[in-house]
Symmetry: C2
Subunit: 165 residues, 2 copies
DNA sequence: ATCAATGCAAACGTTTTGCACTCCC
DNA sequence: GGGAGTGCAAAACGTTTGCATTGAT
């Protein structure tokens, strides 16, 4: 039995609901700031919700330019998503920032394959715990952190799991 | 007895030697690549060795433009320093990359104060250990990682250590 | 109808490149 | 002396801004 770690709650069943909750949060944030949920902003959000993660600005732009969406709007909307804390940036293997929707997702860090670009999410509560402890001891209050590991994923590793191992 | 963790070897005594070793490493790297250790490259290295850490490209440029050094050279040399693995970039609180010389310095991560910009280096072998373990289990081979914590340092913390704790 | 949002183009800041001159090896 | 290195200017790149038009509430 492949016990693939299932870090995140299954959302397949409640996917549509999830999308709606995300949209709601965004709308609330916008309302709070006296801003509007426009078609373009919805579309950008939708792209994230169907891709579900790790899109660069350019990815979003290319997916939506056929709808007449401009780069500027993508930039501005991504900024809004970041501000609202709905989206968060991850450094990709090529150095560019990629975004993912964070709502209701437990905090996780990233393993980034420098070869294929695959981004694996990982949770390690132990590490978070040590982090907090050490920082508290030092009087450093953490606001947020970035913990990214660059390397090769299983498939891209130079030495595939040898027989007999 | 204050057992302040002494993360880095005392270099006060051997500082000059250290500088020379750094220069040697750089020269070796350059030789390997059929490149030359020029006055400008030496000067840039010297800036790092006297500042010892966390300089942005602009910092370096401003410190050296009086010597007639151009921005372009700074960019190119910083790239060389990175390639040679002598220097490594850290994300500063304002988001720009700052560089530090890494030779003979044990690996460390960074606590970055978003208020005063102070960068504190930190070693937590336990975390590194867990990291390695987890990644090995996943078949992910780490090449390098970035672990940066953003927050407020002791001095900039909103609530100074209150009386009676 | 109002006022924010959009999209264009132009501005902007940063990094890279082309090229003649310099200088290290 | 030759080829790499430098510095300038210009190009390239990614992001932001100004402004007239569009559109959501």
């Amino acid at each position: 039995m492949k016990k693939e770690l299932s870090y995140f709650p299954k959302r397949d069943a409640g996917r549509r609901n999830y999308a709606e909750r995300v949209r709601q949060v965004f709308q609330d944030y916008l309302a709070l700031k006296d801003l509007r949920l426009t078609k373009q902003r919805e579309k950008i959000l939708d792209v994230f919700l169907s891709a579900e993660r790790h899109l660069s600005q350019d990815d979003v732009y290319r997916l939506l330019k056929k709808d007449g969406l401009g780069r500027v709007t993508v930039y501005r909307t991504l900024k809004l998503l970041e501000e609202s804390r709905l989206a968060e940036g991850v450094t990709s293997s090529s150095g560019e920032t990629r975004f993912e929707i964070q709502l209701e997702r437990p905090h996780h860090d990233h393993l980034i394959c420098v070869q294929c670009g695959y981004i694996k999410e990982i949770r390690w509560p132990e590490i978070e715990k040590i982090q907090k402890q050490v920082c508290r001891k030092l009087g450093f209050s953490i606001l947020y952190h970035r913990h990214e590991l660059f390397g090769r994923c299983k498939d891209c590793s130079p030495k595939p799991p040898a027989a007999g191992s």
